[in-house]
Symmetry: C2
């Protein structure tokens, strides 16, 4: 019997070729490539293909073929479209996505991973990933009393996403900023949602069951919930002069500062470093420039104050701090921050599920019973 550390921290539960996080080095990768380099150099669809099929397109023709393959399956299937207003009436976008994908998986007749053609599963994965942004935007719009906007075949993933959300074709700068964010959050080791997807996959369940479960894990505030709260911190501080006065007592009271610290990184989070650059590039008018400068001032002050008040272990800005800023600057409303995270992470979940499913061993750990000792006789009713 092995007693695992709390939260299975540091416990290797599987071999993977999808990617890895090297927390001590501040480096993470998808397959054999630096994730940050991919985000800076490749369109999202290239990286999606890398995650799903194990290889990036090598030629322009391959790139275009994959991009076209995943563009034509963006539309919401009719059995979902009819029910979507009822879903949106009671569901935030992420919960609505959970319900809608659960229904879509059934509607597609997804099969358990027993004697199933692996090309069918790969196409199920592409379908789930392609329809996710469409569903998220549709639920978001229905909740604001607007009509869902159909996907456009002539736009890339990120531009189409912003189009379906806001009904305006975004500037290249905005589309490119969101694209880099999305690529950089596609996958990130065995986080709780990815691990959830793999546990469900280990039972032989169909891809829909795995992704629906992962969405639930991502909806937990300890996992997917922080990007809008990091921005709320900027709101609370308000102006550069107030930084110390607001942040110092927070740290002294032992409050967690949203957007700072990470379970794995012991250095700058490479995603926050990239997104800080992306944000800087978006500071094109006085208002946005001032906001980006303010965010950087808050980052420096928080890191300095944490070092002063909680010395010992340096704490840095995490992905969520600049992610919220980048999304806000590109016109993504706060209620769509975590859903936007989900919209690319689903690609990482699917890559992990396809890999896990090749291993037929069900994940079934143990627990240590610590209650009153059994068996005690069933007491009589008085």
């Amino acid at each position: 019997m092995i007693i695992a550390p709390p939260g299975l921290k540091g416990v290797v539960v599987a071999d993977t070729a999808v990617g890895d996080v090297r927390g001590a080095e501040g480096f993470y990768h998808y397959r054999q490539y630096s994730a940050i380099e991919l985000a800076e150099q490749r369109p999202l669809e290239d990286v999606w293909r890398l995650m799903t099929d194990g290889e990036m397109p090598r030629t322009l023709a391959e790139r275009e073929a994959f991009a076209a393959e995943v563009a034509v399956i963006r539309a919401i299937p009719s059995e979902i479209l009819d029910v979507l207003p009822a879903i949106a009436a009671v569901s935030e976008p992420l919960d609505g996505l959970r319900t809608a994908l659960s229904l879509a998986a059934a509607g597609r007749g997804m099969q358990p991973n027993i004697d199933i053609d692996q090309r069918v599963r790969r196409n199920d994965a592409l379908f789930l990933c392609a329809v996710t942004p469409t569903l998220l935007c549709a639920v978001y719009r229905l909740r604001s009393g607007a009509r869902p906007i159909a996907p456009r075949l002539d736009l890339g993933y990120a531009a189409n996403y912003l189009w379906m959300m806001n009904g305006v074709v975004p500037t290249d700068a905005h589309a490119s900023a969101i694209e880099r964010y999305l690529i950089s959050t596609m996958d990130h080791g065995f986080n709780a949602s990815t691990f959830t997807a793999r546990v469900v996959a280990s039972t032989g369940a169909d891809l829909g069951a795995c992704v629906v479960a992962a969405i639930g894990a991502l909806s937990g505030p300890l996992h997917g919930g922080a990007p809008s709260r990091a921005l709320a911190l900027l709101d609370e501080i308000g102006t550069p002069e107030r930084i110390d006065a607001v942040v110092r007592p927070m740290i002294e009271r032992g409050n967690k500062i949203m957007g700072f610290g990470h379970a794995v990184y012991r250095t700058d989070d490479p995603r926050s470093v990239m997104l800080r650059d992306v944000a800087r590039g978006l500071g094109v008018d006085e208002r946005s420039e001032r906001l980006v400068e303010f965010a950087q001032a808050v980052e420096h002050a928080v890191v300095r104050l944490l070092g002063e008040l909680k010395p010992g272990r340096p704490i840095y800005a995490n992905v969520e701090f600049y992610a919220g800023l980048v999304m806000a600057l590109c016109g993504v409303p706060r209620s769509m921050f975590t859903p936007t995270f989900a919209s690319s992470r689903v690609i990482g979940w699917c890559a992990n599920v396809l890999e896990q499913a090749a291993d037929n061993k069900i994940i079934r750990p143990s627990a240590r019973y610590v209650g009153p000792p059994p068996p005690q006789p069933c007491p009589p009713l008085h």
Copy 2:
């Protein structure tokens, strides 16, 4: 870094007071009571209360109060009822339950487990468990072209379940047999679906997210999928004379024999022992008596042949072998076998989620990267 054994087998990932399985002794318990003793001596609602609140009712008044509390919340909320035909049109009962509960959790406005009144969460749990059998029966009936049947307040859990499924008030013998089956399958250590629910709970996600994820895990054929296949084995054999001729080549070919063997038990599965007795009690006419005798003959022959052809580790009938028989004898159709399992297991999931949520540590293990070494430069497009 700890390299865990495949499937986390034998790795203790949490402390629990919900219950435990002692595989070497052929014993399992809920809280401090033998699960089999509970199944034989208590109504399902008493055990449900034990799982959820930690204590069984001590007086008749307490029993009746809890039974009434969970009976009045059996009805399907209107936002689900309207959409249920669309769900049932494309979903098997278990997948339909996944979609419907996902929507129901949103409709109820379930909150993440952050600063939430724990009584609200407890009531969310009762709601999910109470509405589950109603949803399963409604989807099943809609798929057969019949109308859903409303729950009856004057019937206990099991009798009401069979009523909603078939539209006939069952005999006491059938209701009691199904009740014992349901109690005996409420919980069973850290199986894959229970563990899934706990991983999702560890992120602070709401109860609905946890249960929806667990349903997905249970839908995997390596986990919840065998009861009807065990009965299919009886069909395939057909008559007692053919047992050896059918089973021997299966074992020689190395096929898994459905309904035999268990990951944890090294003895008779205590559930199969109890369900064999339950089945015997249901052999009240010539046809059912012959079927029960045939099943026992198959059990003996399979155990004997496995001992002869695969010596070393004795293999016994598991819960699924007699579960299928008991359900069939009580008029549960095969398509409802795994859903019936889900209908009581949800009570165990919720007890585990409520317990896990008290521990704030997110479950985030590690993986060992085995792909080509990074970082390799992003290749150019040709």
